[in-house]
Symmetry: C2
Subunit: 247 residues, 2 copies
DNA sequence: CAGCGTCCTTGACGCAGGTCAAACGGGGGC
DNA sequence: GCCCCCGTTTGACCTGCGTCAAGGACGCTG
């Protein structure tokens, strides 16, 4: 299912996320250094990678699959605060314990770096630190976009926004433009979507049904989505349609 | 009102945010470099610093006063996505245009760096880049905390959380512990609080009244807050009371 | 094939918070 | 002193989404 790139003989040069992950800017000698402190770990769909508050002695890149970051309140209310896709970075140099629950929502392969030596590399090899800064700034922008969604959008707009993000990402992976018709699979259950959007799973289900009835999307089974017109979907997100995306 | 530190003869060595801003880690020779590309700008309460989408040829540190970052939807719904206090950083190296509206909510003094030379320094002086990464990671954590608030907290919990943050920060500036009784002024109008919390100003007003009636806070006029018991306030935020704060 | 578990949908109902409207209060200008 | 403006409070009403509950679709196991 996930591209099984051989765990015994992995070389960074062959890595599918080589050009987008935290190592993107590294020269070959820097890669060799990274190679010495890295190891792979894989998780099954549904498994927890770490619990918030746990000691965490590595940082990592997602190689394949999808993971989530989430926070839980004492009474069980949960909010997802990050959706990690291939090439995304997990963990914070200089921090000893995980600040969030990290969960594999699909089968997941992570490229882990031992924290201590990684922290040294942060100082010695600027290319790693530079790339990490860039990625962190992107994440901050995404988080702020998400704050607008959580604070001000209606349930329908939230669903449309999530679908638009997933569609865009899917198109990006397949190197297509998200212009016309799109087809993709939802990588999240209704409950996970609800946790992402600050809704209940019932509301998610109802709004998806509504978007289907209104012809914005088409569903085959419960996860397979067809978007007839991406522009139509965008109209439903409440975002500026015309305004170009920065980034 | 703001500590008027003389704009004509400013030296980084005397700067009130010297030890906490993006320049915190710099040695004296690095400071001298920064000094050559910096200039001060001040804004009156209510003024806009930049509009989202505007060209922005500087990055900056807040020296004194408070600024906000916010996003606005076409129909006028607004969400604050950042509250900038002294030492906080504004702008993104490598980006040409502002991604958010930046507004001065009090009289504001900013230490601006011309973007081009600042970007060169990012490469040449690792201390600047390191500090910026650290600050950005902190901001990302704060943003994620805020996502939990926006997505899952009740109106009362939102208000209590905001008050707790303001109280904590005020105590930090004054070098006191937020243990017992606290007194501070709200730096935001009810409407700005609403924009921060994803509420309407009416709901903010009602919940503040409710907290006052329940003896959690005490109000003198409309902005001056007394917190009898910080622990009591924390109970109202919905957060883990016991759990230590990471950071 | 029956039985079960997981995920999803749908309906009925209630309430937290949004909307609309009116009025208050304090500070500044004249 | 008076007026006006802005931020704020309060009330009455409404509605979007949450809650609770039931049932359907699908896949897995025995």
């Amino acid at each position: 299912m996930a591209q099984q790139f051989n765990l015994a003989t992995q070389h960074c040069g062959d890595c599918p996320i080589r050009h987008r992950a935290v190592c993107a800017r590294c020269e070959t000698d820097e890669l060799e250094q990274l190679e010495q402190i890295k190891y792979y770990r894989s998780f099954q769909a549904g498994q927890t990678v770490v619990w918030s508050g746990d000691r965490m002695d590595f940082v990592a890149s997602v190689v394949s699959g999808i993971a989530t970051l989430s926070q839980t309140m004492e009474d069980g209310r949960r909010q997802m605060v990050g959706l990690l896709l291939p090439s995304d970075f997990v963990g914070r140099p200089g921090r000893e314990r995980a600040a969030y629950d990290v969960t594999a929502t699909t089968d997941l392969l992570m490229c882990c770096f031992r924290k201590k030596p990684f922290e040294s590399m942060m100082v010695s090899t600027p290319h790693v630190a530079q790339r990490l800064l860039e990625m962190t700034l992107d994440e901050l922008d995404a988080a702020r976009e998400w704050m607008l969604l959580l604070g001000r959008k209606t349930a329908r707009e939230k669903i449309a926004s999530l679908l638009a993000i997933l569609a865009r990402r899917d198109a990006a992976l397949a190197l297509r433009k998200p212009g016309g018709r799109l087809v993709f699979d939802l990588p999240l259950t209704r409950e996970q979507m609800a946790d992402y959007l600050g809704l209940t799973l019932e509301t998610v289900s109802r709004q998806i049904t509504a978007l289907r009835k209104d012809g914005v999307i088409d569903l085959e089974g419960t996860r397979h989505v067809k978007v007839a017109s991406f522009d139509r979907l965008l109209e439903e997100t409440g975002d500026d349609t015309d305004g170009g995306f920065l980034v």
